[in-house]
Symmetry: C2
Subunit: 146 residues, 2 copies
DNA sequence: GCGCCAACGTTGGTTAAACCAACGTATCAT
DNA sequence: ATGATACGTTGGTTTAACCAACGTTGGCGC
């Protein structure tokens, strides 16, 4: 679509602008993830595991903002690919402990590059100062509505 | 979710921040539209009709970034509510000309207030200068990917 | 110990947005 | 004239976000 021909009422509406950019951000990222065997939420979970270490599925969900039920499916995908392993928590048998494998760590590093490229494509028209500014404003908003 | 406990890899990712804020923006707007008989895309279409005058469904779709098929359903909704009327274009009988009614104009004005309130709620933590800045950056991005 | 509530993982959904394919009708270009 | 294109419509698919219910397990009051 040509967003420049949209009504001014929409073009000046922050919620609309955010939604438009959300669609393109998702497309840009999804395009580059194509063929990697991962989706956005897989990357989120691998990142959480790398940063915080082994975690239960419920914790993973809380960290990444995903529903428990969606985490269950995503973990199954990651198991299939061999990027995580899973074991019952001996201290709490309700929990599954999900842990990054060597292959998972390697995959995460590869994905970091892919996702980084996507950011560059998305943010191409902005200077690095402007990118920082945009990130700061969006972070403030996200934290406020957390 | 508490976005503050998300992995730093995600928290510093513009595409992730945009998506997070997109979810809250949609929720904030949808909450306030609840009970008005309209959804976001209805507002977009009413706005386009008010700004550019009567238009074909295909034009409406292009203006608002909606698929032809989705416009068809949305126009039916607006007809039901009496906010638009529709007639065959005498100059091109493939086209339906959709036109805002008096009631539609009134509804649009009411929605302007509702949507405005939603923006205030969404942007609460930002000063008006920061809001302008955010809008400017997002507009540049949206135009670039148009 | 027993009973109750809460958390966990899982299954099987729903909703909304974005999108696509195909059809019949009408228009345009050449 | 005829082939390509545009229009509106129907009937889908896909993805993200979310919800309800279930059996299992753990924590806690009593």
């Amino acid at each position: 679509m040509d967003t420049r021909s949209a009504p001014a009422r929409l073009r000046t509406l922050t919620s609309w602008l955010i939604n438009q950019n959300s669609v393109t951000a998702r497309n840009v990222v999804a395009d580059r993830l194509e063929g990697t065997g991962t989706r956005r939420y897989h990357y989120s979970m691998l990142a959480a595991l790398e940063e915080f270490g082994p975690a239960s599925q419920a914790d993973l969900g809380r960290r990444c903002g995903l529903d428990r039920s969606d985490v269950a499916g995503a973990v199954a995908d990651l198991l299939d690919q061999g990027w995580v392993d899973r074991a019952a928590d001996p201290l709490d048998r309700r929990r599954n402990i999900v842990r990054l494998t060597k292959a998972g760590t390697k995959q995460l590093k590869a994905l970091d590059r892919v996702i980084g490229d996507a950011q560059d494509a998305l943010l191409e028209p902005l200077s690095s100062a402007e990118r920082a500014q945009l990130n700061e404003l969006l972070t403030r908003l996200a934290d406020h509505h957390a």
